[in-house]
């Protein structure tokens, strides 16, 4: 018996999936940021602070491994930064899901375009532009 050609999923499913990824990504990351904020305020709330001159950030807020280590040590600012990383990862995860969606939809033109967007973001991460 010859199967009629049909797509595994439709645009509507991709829309729903995208919507869920974005919503939960934002909620989760905000939860982590708030938790980190409470720890940070509890520990450092009465210290003086000044943001008027740019001094750069301590290493434990700029590097993935260093953030992870500091989170384990329950440093408030590192937990906030982990939440911010989750937030930055949210739209990137949305792009990743789109690749899967377009593959299932057999839209190979858009698999290519979406992979190109991912490649640009990876280049931004790994390109050493942060120095």
């Amino acid at each position: 018996m010859k199967q009629p050609e049909h797509k595994l999923i439709k645009d509507k499913d991709i829309q729903l999936m995208t919507s869920l990824v974005l919503r939960w990504g934002v909620l989760l990351s905000m939860g982590v940021v708030i938790l980190g904020g409470i720890v940070y305020i509890y520990r450092h709330g009465h210290e003086a602070i000044d943001y008027s001159t740019f001094t750069g950030e301590p290493y434990f807020t700029r590097n993935l491994n260093a953030i992870a280590v500091a989170v384990v040590n329950f440093k408030g600012r590192a937990i906030i930064q982990a939440g911010i990383l989750l937030l930055i990862a949210t739209p990137i995860a949305r792009v990743l899901f789109s690749v899967v969606g377009f593959v299932l939809e057999k839209d190979y033109l858009y698999v290519g375009i979406t992979l190109l967007v991912l490649a640009i973001i990876v280049a931004s991460m790994m390109g050493g532009f942060g120095g």
């Binding site: 919507s19 974005l22 709330g45 792009v95 532009f129």
Partner: protein, 277 residues
């Protein structure tokens, strides 16, 4: 100032910025940066870093709703993200070498331009002319109006793409969503219905901002102590704004805020010109 007091002040300011940004359609980013730099004397690099993070949050949060409603043209968004993300990286690289005075002046100019655009009449024009490039790239779409779906065609793909590279660059350089520029490209050049333009622009802003945020993070421009109240405040403010019904009064409110934003923009330019930023 102590951390606790400053965090509370920024939280309130960010809430106001998110609310005004949402009501005017300008976005929280362009409001929070002058607020932080002019009123609270925060260094512009820190302000831009924190704003970028808040831009990702508001864009992703509202895109979640629009995508589900089927207004967003996801293929168009994906295609144009090639332009905006590469522009964003370029902008983030330039940001390191451009003196802060120039960043402030450029910011002011983009802000005034955005405020003017937000006051324009919004018309959903439906383009029926066929365009070969748009058809090949499957960019044409349809969107729900009442109970039916209205189909539209996309024009001037090349011009829109180039404009998007520019919009991405401004986003990466100034830490804003540059929604106004994206809408110019889509609504003005590509002849896409206004509603689709704004929601698709919103959809692209998160990825665009993420592309430059990874550079800013590694460079130490994202301070968690500052970004925390900014992102929470802007997101809550934007959420409140989206719940306020758009009526005639809201229209007057928009004019009022646009004037205030323009004044802030002029002050940014002045500070940039006199080198006091």
């Amino acid at each position: 100032m102590s951390v606790l007091v400053l965090t509370l002040i920024i939280l309130i300011g960010a809430y106001a910025a998110g609310l005004v940004g949402s009501l005017t359609g300008l976005g929280g980013g362009v409001v929070i940066i002058p607020l932080l730099t002019i009123l609270l004397h925060v260094n512009i690099h820190y302000a831009i870093g924190a704003s970028l993070v808040s831009v990702i949050a508001t864009s992703s949060g509202s895109a979640a709703a629009y995508v589900r409603e089927g207004i967003t043209n996801m293929r168009l968004g994906m295609f144009l993200e090639v332009a905006t993300t590469s522009g964003a990286i370029t902008g983030a690289i330039i940001a390191k070498y451009l003196p802060v005075q120039y960043i402030a002046i450029l910011f002011g100019v983009v802000l005034i331009f955005s405020a003017l655009l937000s006051l324009r009449k919004k018309v959903d024009h439906i383009e029926k002319t066929k365009n070969l490039v748009a058809e090949t790239l499957k960019l044409n779409g349809n969107y729900p109006v009442g109970d039916t779906h209205v189909a539209y065609n996309v024009q001037n793909v090349g011009g829109g793409f180039i404009m998007m590279i520019f919009a991405g660059m401004m986003s990466g350089l100034l830490g804003i969503g540059s929604g106004a520029l994206k809408v110019v490209a889509m609504d003005g050049m590509m002849r896409i219905p206004f509603k689709v333009s704004t929601t698709t622009s919103n959809f692209m802003i998160g990825v665009t901002a993420a592309a430059s945020a990874v550079v800013y993070l590694q460079r130490g421009y994202i301070d968690p102590g500052l970004a925390m109240p900014v992102v929470i405040g802007v997101l809550l403010g934007a959420f409140t704004g989206s719940k306020i019904l758009v009526n005639a009064k809201a229209d007057k409110l928009r004019y009022f805020f646009s004037i205030i934003i323009t004044l802030l923009a002029i002050q940014m330019i002045y500070k940039g010109l006199t080198g006091t930023i």
